[in-house]
Amino acid sequence: MKSKVKGHNSRFIVMLVMLILSGCGGVRNANVADTTGSQPVATSRVVTDDLGRHVTIPLRVTRVVSLAPNLTESIFAVGAGDRLVGVTTFCNYPEQAKSITKIGDTMNPNMESIVALKPDIVFVSTASQIESFTKTLDANGIAVYVTNPMSLDDVVKDLFALSEILGNSENSGVLANFVPELKREINGFRERMKNETKVRVFVQISKEPLFTIGKQSFLNEVIDVAGGESVTNEVESAYPKLSKETALALSPDVIILSESDDNREPNEVFRNSPAVKNGRVYKINADIISRPGPRLFGGLYQIARDLHPKKFPVPF
């Protein structure tokens, strides 16, 4: 059993490493397959985004703007980071993203800067709640592709879609292989953790005022797959401000801190909770668990290891 788990883990790690390495590579090939016949050569094609919108894009996408940090990370992960011409001020990962032209922050992107960059396509994530900008960009004749990642599978699906849109004959083969494999890995993980006793987890997004994750957060699934259960998964909205009375009464067994400047320790109300008493408070970089992007799989692994340390004897 133990070795099986170990083997599974290392495969998972290999996938993650591949994901990260592929982000740094950037193999490029300018050829477009199957357009050499006597038929008139198509110059554009139509793809469907997560909202079901039909988006017309050039065959070869070379100039890309990302309006969300999770998308910037995904674009690097599929090997197209060098085609990013504009990102948000929140896009701080990978390191190369920091030197790309900033077009404002995720909440207030600057339309003039975006238009001036002449992008072939702008990627928007509903996770950053700026759907309204879609209309303005559409009106300016700029292709807008909206992603709507609500689950781990969606994250994989979006990676696949990105690799399709941005890929080319040479590296799309690699990507086409590794994306389904990533999916199989997640399912394997899910299967593996299925029979574990669910650990009762409280995810603290901010200490004061006390914010947590609610019913609509994609982290519920991540915690579930990792062998836990969010104690606030019945509370409405994605990031609710929770009553401290309720928080105290929930007495979670584990507290996960979405680590940021003002969220480095559990709220005072958890003083007597089993989580604090047993020292089961874990920190995860807020950037990793707040972004439905490629690093979320690493976050999933970290949460699973924190929740079930005995199942993960090998330090990662």
């Binding site: 005022p209 929770l242 401290k244 105290l248 940021s260």
Partner: protein, 316 residues
């Protein structure tokens, strides 16, 4: 005077009643007797401090409103409309952004901000011909909007997680009540109310006109400084503890004057009690309406206060 005593007794009884009812209501249902350890913690560590802080904040804002209205002979003089609250909010925000580790910087800078805003409004409103209502309201509006824009500019320095906490706090939030916070607010409101009551007789004379008051031997300048100082002190403490809770300083003194007349010896202390009742009531709604989530208390006071003010306006 006798009628005043009766009304005072009724108000006190109401305050005690509202506090008791508030202590029985909350996101978690508690039994009346035989509380277990966890339930006692919910009651004494979370609910009761919050109710008491709400009472202090309500009393603070209402006495500040009562004092400023009499001093400036203006029914619209209110901490929020005069920019005092925003001055305190800016002070708190500076503490929040630059001196986060020092707990005491919040009330101190809030007090300083409130004081500076008050002085600025007063200096702008005063002309050689004296001070008229229009100039005062105009100065208040200008200082308020100016400070708001400075606050908005400072929020761009905050990261996403901090921004969420700060926005919530700005709307008025009592969830961060601690025992120390209650002591601080209680101390401030007791001192502020005593100072204002000591000036009640002088304020009564000044309501007729500053020149007349001067003829009666009132040291107008001294009274002015004491009232401004007391108002800044209580508003600073209230805002540092709970953000900007609007309408309390506007509505409460008006209602009190409607029932006991304009004698400040009664208006000031009764406003304190009525303000406490109003905020404890509003916060009980904020705590329970969408439990286990919470509303900002400032939204509830505005929701009750605005229609009430329109009603009073039409009636007079």
């Amino acid at each position: 005077m006798k009628r005043g005593l009766v009304i005072g007794a009724v108000l006190l009884a109401l305050l005690v009643g509202v506090i008791l009812v508030a202590a029985m209501l909350g996101a978690e249902r508690l039994p009346l007797f035989d509380l277990n350890e966890q339930q006692r913690s919910i009651l004494y560590d979370i609910r009761v401090p919050r109710i008491l802080l709400g009472a202090c904040v309500g009393a603070s804002l209402a006495v500040a409103g009562a004092g400023l209205q009499s001093l400036l002979r203006n029914p619209l003089a209110e901490p929020y409309l005069l920019g005092v609250s925003n001055g305190a909010a800016l002070g708190t925000m500076v503490a929040f952004v630059f001196f986060q580790s020092l707990e005491l910087t919040r009330p101190i800078l809030a007090f300083a901000g409130a004081g500076l805003a008050t002085l600025a409004v007063y200096r702008m409103a005063k002309s050689r011909a004296g001070m008229n209502v229009e100039r005062l309201v105009l100065s208040g509006v200008i200082v308020t909007t100016f400070l708001s824009s400075v606050i908005v500019m400072l929020t761009t320095l905050l990261d996403a997680a901090k921004l969420r906490s700060f926005t919530f706090w700005l709307l008025g939030d009592l969830s961060q009540a601690t025992r120390n916070g209650v002591y601080l607010s209680l101390g401030a409101v007791i001192i502020g109310t005593i100072v204002l009551m000591s000036q009640a007789r002088a304020l009564n004379l000044m309501m007729v006109g500053e020149r007349d008051a001067f003829d009666f031997g009132v040291e107008v300048g001294r009274v002015r400084m004491l009232v401004f100082g007391a108002a800044s002190l209580v508003v600073g403490a209230a805002v540092a503890a709970s953000g900007s809770v609007g309408y309390v300083g506007l509505i409460v003194p008006h209602l009190v004057r409607l029932s006991v007349g304009s004698d400040n010896r009664l208006v000031v202390p009764f406003s304190a009690i009525a303000g406490a009742i109003f905020v404890v009531f509003a916060d009980t709604i904020a705590r329970t309406a969408i439990a286990p989530r919470e509303l900002p208390v400032g939204a509830v006071t505005a929701l009750i206060g605005a229609p009430m003010f329109i009603y009073l306006l039409r009636k007079n």
